[in-house]
């Protein structure tokens, strides 16, 4: 496999699954924040 092909393959996986992972992490953080907010109330 050529270097450019490897780079683009990794880039494609990073953008898509990396992007999804960021979204999931943000969602989980907000969920934790809301749970602790509810406990305080």
């Amino acid at each position: 496999m050529s270097v450019s092909a490897i780079i683009f393959m990794i880039l494609a996986l990073l953008v898509t699954w990396g992007g999804a992972a960021v979204c999931i992490i943000i969602a989980l953080k907000k969920q934790t924040k809301n749970k602790s907010k509810n406990l305080k109330d």
């Binding site: 496999m1 050529s2 450019s4 092909a5 490897i6 780079i7 683009f8 393959m9 880039l11 494609a12 996986l13 953008v15 898509t16 699954w17 992007g19 999804a20 979204c23 999931i24 943000i26 969602a27 907000k30």
Partner: protein, 490 residues
């Protein structure tokens, strides 16, 4: 509305949305499109299309469903009494797609069973067209129903009926919570298996090696936008229907973005699997990869079985591949049918179970057309017209209505009040100007091309019968159906 069912969990909704978006096109269309439009360089317009069209439209459609908590026609009616025809247009597009898509899912299920014994033999093309489909000489020779396919189509509709009559939580949510992880694991296992095959590296090189000269071609950008558009299940009511079951305190933008990214992620993994297999097949047969590279039905049911025959552990690879195809297709079919059933239930105030039963019976009967000897030709033409005219025009009408005649700003407020990411001027600009203009250009281009030369050089009679007539009927029904809804008159 007070009794409208909700998704049990956020995960359930997101998996359902992903299940809807991830379908046959991710597996058999995206890889070949990437390969034939500049390889790795195609990813540039593809990701631009994702961020400028795909994600903005998904956000809009999820916010429509969430805000009005109704199926598409009723949701559009809430926005304007004169607009429900846009929702009906999306429903009839969904209806058409459900009818033929279920047949392809049935093929995938049958091929999964064939994989246990590699029943397709060595002449996979001859097997597919002659033994399996028993294809006729042309689109105007419909012939008779092929019973072996029809039985599986009925089975698929029974499974759809069972899923949807069980409701959102106990039906769709349970199915997607099982099927989507199974699909992901199956594709990863397949990936690990095939990427280590001899010749796989060559295949991946052909797929990802960038040809930057293609970026300067408008056709490449149109292909990228088209793929994002058709891949994300937008503009035919699915995201509106699914998000109408969301509870009030639900995020919209993060769910939409997650769905879009994961859908594209599945496309990338599928592309790696497909081109690893093709690279192996080319090496094993000592032929250039362009002789095996292809897309669509031919790739899935002719080229892949041929490649599978040559592989070590061929039966396992075959079973995994076709089961993945089946799962991807089935989770999409249930979402498409859900649009129609929720519309019937909402518009005519019919109990959900009755709406699902009526629709599944009608859908199953109409699907039998595509199980005939001439069914593949009809399917090909119908699929082309409903996607390139139906969905594209539905998208244009939806965006023009909401961005120009309704208050797009009200959606901004609705979304930002409850979402992890906010939308603002860039989002409004894209929906108001950029996407409609691009879609309009695509639509006019398609129209001109098809008037000049009939699609795939099919006889004009066939294109008129299955293509243009279908579009006219869908438009007419969309205009007539609002008049039949009692609550509209009240």
């Amino acid at each position: 509305m007070a009794n409208r069912e909700n998704w049990g969990t956020r995960v359930g909704f997101v998996l359902a949305a992903i299940g809807s978006a991830v379908g046959l096109g991710n597996i058999w269309r995206f890889p070949y499109l990437t390969y034939s439009n500049g390889g790795g360089a195609f990813l540039i317009p593809y990701f631009v299309a994702l961020f400028t069209a795909g994600i903005p439209i998904i956000i809009l459609e999820m916010s429509i469903g969430h805000r009005f908590k109704l199926s598409p026609p009723s949701a559009f009616f809430k926005m304007s009494k004169k607009a429900s025809w846009i929702g009906w247009l999306q429903v009839f597009i969904a209806f058409t797609i459900a009818v033929y898509y279920s047949v392809i899912v049935a093929w995938a299920l049958k091929y999964t069973l064939y994989a246990f014994n590699l029943s397709w033999g060595n002449q996979t093309k001859d097997f597919f067209y002659n033994s399996f489909l028993q294809i006729s000489s042309g689109p105007m020779s419909i012939g008779g129903i092929v019973p072996s396919i029809a039985i599986f189509v009925v089975l698929i509709w029974i499974c759809v009926w069972l899923t949807l009559t069980s409701g959102i939580r106990k039906g769709i949510e349970i199915i997607v919570k099982i099927f989507m992880p199974v699909l992901f694991i199956g594709l990863i296992v397949l990936l690990v298996k095939v990427v280590t095959l001899e010749g796989a590296g060559n295949g991946l090189d052909w797929l990802f090696k960038p040809d930057f000269s293609r970026i300067y071609s408008f056709k490449t950008w149109a292909a990228a936008y088209g793929q994002v558009f058709f891949s994300l299940s937008i503009c035919f009511g699915i995201m509106i229907a699914y998000s109408s079951y969301l509870p009030d305190k639900s995020d919209i933008t993060n769910n939409a973005t997650m769905t879009a990214f994961i859908n594209c992620g599945f496309s990338i993994i599928s592309a790696i699997v497909i081109f690893s297999v093709l690279g192996y097949a080319a090496q094993a047969q000592n032929i250039p990869i362009k002789e095996v590279a292809g897309g669509g039905i031919g790739l899935a049911f002719i080229t892949i079985p041929l490649a599978v025959n040559l592989m070590p552990a061929s039966k396992i690879v075959g079973i995994l591949f076709f089961f993945a195809l089946f799962v991807a297709g089935f989770t999409s079919v249930i979402s498409i049918v859900e649009v129609c059933c929720s519309t019937i239930a909402d518009s005519y105030k019919i109990v959900r179970k009755k709406a699902v039963t009526v629709f599944c019976i009608i859908g199953c009967i109409l699907s039998l057309l595509f199980t005939t000897n001439g069914g593949l030709y009809a399917l090909d033409i119908v699929d082309y017209f409903i996607n390139n005219f139906g969905i594209v025009f539905a998208g244009i009408f939806e965006l023009i209505f909401i961005a120009w005649f309704f208050k797009l700003e009200s959606f901004v407020e609705h979304i930002n009040r409850r979402s992890d990411f906010c939308v603002g001027r860039p989002w409004k600009f894209l929906l108001k100007f950029f996407v409609p203009l691009f879609l309009g250009y695509m639509a006019i281009g398609n129209l001109i091309n098809n008037i000049k030369v009939p699609y795939e050089s099919y006889p004009l009679k066939a294109v008129t019968c299955y293509g243009w007539s279908l579009i006219v009927i869908v438009i007419l029904l969309s205009l007539i159906m609002p008049l039949t809804v009692k609550s509209n008159k009240e």
